[in-house]
């Protein structure tokens, strides 16, 4: 069972391995720049947020952002490219694998890319900056990253499945994904929001991703409502991704 998914995932990891250096350089550059610009640039103006030093406040979010962005990018572009450009999805579909194998393989590829790239950014931030954590908190943080990457990988798969024009994938990223990420309080505390809209912001899956990651990394626990949000989001997006892909392939 899922041998096909494993083969497709193996293919994607082989391709990632070949270009790992160039991939990581480009992936690390963006969050590291943000960390240096905001963490150090604003350090003189914002010393701490709720008692947490500002560089430490933004670091978990930047690592999570790298992971979820990588998961979304890999899933959406890879699915689109294999479906519309290389047409390798069609090659997969004339073998005994099922559409479930294909979509699960692709989701796990996105998830893996997110995990690898998030880990590398974490290590780079750890190596280059005074950012330090309690390693006992790491398992909870990794759980949060895993659930978040799964959600974004599924969202990417849905986009790569239903969107035919590549520019529209870019539009989804800039109009939906980026605002969702930045609204979720990577760079500022949620208490900055007016009380009237705060409950809505707290319901966003991205808020669960970034607030949950920060709490996990700094305190070793994920607040229950964020954990429930992460699990339900991942499960819901997975079901929708599988359903959407299945429908698209039946057209």
């Amino acid at each position: 069972m899922f041998k096909g998914a494993f083969s497709i995932w193996g293919r994607d990891m082989l391709v990632l391995k070949r270009s790992i250096i160039s991939e990581l350089v480009s992936v690390v550059a963006y969050p590291l720049t943000l960390y240096l610009a905001f963490g150090f640039g604003l350090k003189g103006y914002i010393t701490d947020v709720n008692g947490v030093p500002y560089p430490l406040f933004i670091a978990p979010g930047l690592i999570s952002m790298t992971a979820v962005n990588a998961a979304f990018d890999e899933s959406s572009w890879s699915m689109w490219f294999h479906r519309k450009v290389q047409r390798t999805i069609e090659e997969y579909r004339v073998t005994p694998v099922t559409v479930y194998d294909i979509v699960i393989g692709k989701i796990f590829s996105g998830f893996s890319q997110g995990a690898v790239k998030g880990t590398v950014v974490f290590l780079v931030i750890l190596f280059l900056t005074p950012f330090r954590i309690d390693y006992a908190n790491l398992p909870m943080y990794l759980l949060c990253i895993a659930l978040s990457s799964m959600t974004f990988s599924c969202l990417g798969t849905i986009c790569g499945t239903v969107i035919d024009k590549p520019e529209n994938i870019g539009r989804v990223q800039s109009v939906i994904i980026v605002p969702l990420i930045f609204m979720a309080g990577i760079f500022f505390p949620l208490s900055s929001y007016p009380a009237s809209i705060l409950p809505l912001i707290q319901l966003l899956p991205t808020t669960a991703v970034f607030e949950g990651a920060r709490d996990a990394l700094l305190t070793g626990t994920i607040p229950t409502h964020y954990l429930v949000n992460l699990v339900l989001s991942a499960a819901f997006c997975f079901a929708v991704a599988v359903y959407t892909f299945n429908r698209k392939m039946a057209e």
Binding site: Q86, E91, R93, V94, V97
Partner: protein, 308 residues
């Protein structure tokens, strides 16, 4: 049961357009079957249905006895597919493309490695097996797609316009590979090249607008449409005057001219005598009955030359 492929009243419609209309067919095991038709005839739709990429609106199709509707996975286990476009993975080397295909078929390295070596030798790609497909010529990419379709030793091979866009040398080379498969598996081939069908197929079916127009061997089709009423006439002089004369004869159904050479289609075999009465014997350099080609059969059935 000696049929590798059976189509039973297959209909495929989308948005009011019927691509395939109540199409039935049985293909004998171990033969090379050619489906000929202009673009838009419904050939690719039929292949997509037979390879489980598309579900028919009505009817059912069977590959080696397995229904495409209810046993798709079994069908896919038994088939190899060469699609119209080279859908190779450009981020994998030639060998890795074949390995991935083998894995998707659940093969183990001990089974697929020797088979891949053999196929790479057979297709002349062994020396370039670690190169990426983007560095290959069109003919080499096509041979790699054929090799990929054969990795798991399918019982039925589908080739959708396998030589479209290839140079003559690459076409001949691919024909040799396809000829080598005859008898070891059933080959279902679509093409709009008449010479390809003539050279490769044991049986040919001509289709257009989703229905079958003719079915038989190349020789049978040519015989059936050989009505001995198309002549080639070459004039020594006065070709322009004779063009006018021919245009005024009611039993002349068609005239094609290339310089002084005319191809004249008559209404029936008896019209040859009145035709000769209207032509001056001393002006004729040569007259001969034109043997029908498969292309003539195709044109007389579909009413037009190959649609591009």
């Amino acid at each position: 049961m000696n049929h590798a492929i059976t189509l039973h009243e297959i209909t495929k419609s989308y948005d009011g357009f019927t691509a395939v209309d109540a199409f039935s067919l049985e293909v004998e095991r171990g033969t090379v079957f050619g489906l000929l038709g202009p673009n838009g005839a419904g050939k690719t739709t039929l292949i997509k249905i037979l390879t489980t990429l598309m579900r028919p609106t009505l009817g059912d199709a069977f590959v080696e006895g397995h229904s495409v509707l209810t046993a798709g996975k079994e069908v896919r286990r038994l088939i190899g597919v060469v699609p119209q476009e080279n859908n190779l993975d450009r981020y994998l080397t030639a060998r890795e493309n074949l390995v991935l295909h083998a894995r998707l078929h659940g093969m183990r390295p001990a089974a697929y490695n020797p088979r891949i070596d053999q196929l790479l030798e057979m297709t002349g790609l062994a020396a370039r097996q670690h190169d990426f497909p983007d560095t290959y010529s069109g003919g080499m990419q096509r041979r790699l797609v054929v090799a990929r379709a054969l990795v798991h030793e399918p019982r039925v091979l589908f080739l959708d316009e396998p030589t479209t866009g290839l140079d003559p040398q690459s076409r001949r080379s691919l024909w040799d590979h396809i000829r080598g498969l005859r008898r070891s598996m059933t080959v279902f081939l679509t093409t709009h090249y008449m010479d390809e069908a003539d050279a490769l197929c044991d049986r040919i079916m001509i289709m257009d607008h989703g229905t079958c127009l003719a079915d038989g061997t190349a020789a049978q089709l040519k015989d059936a449409f050989s009505r001995a009423h198309t002549y080639q006439v070459e004039f020594r002089r006065d070709a322009d005057r004779y063009q006018g004369v021919l245009a005024g004869l009611s039993f002349v159904k068609g005239v094609e001219r290339e310089g002084s050479l005319f191809q004249i289609t008559l209404a029936d075999e008896e019209s040859i005598k009145p035709l000769m009465d209207h032509l001056c014997g001393s002006d004729i350099r040569r007259i001969c009955l034109k043997e029908p080609s498969l292309e003539d059969v195709f044109i007389s059935l579909t009413g037009e030359k190959v649609r591009e």
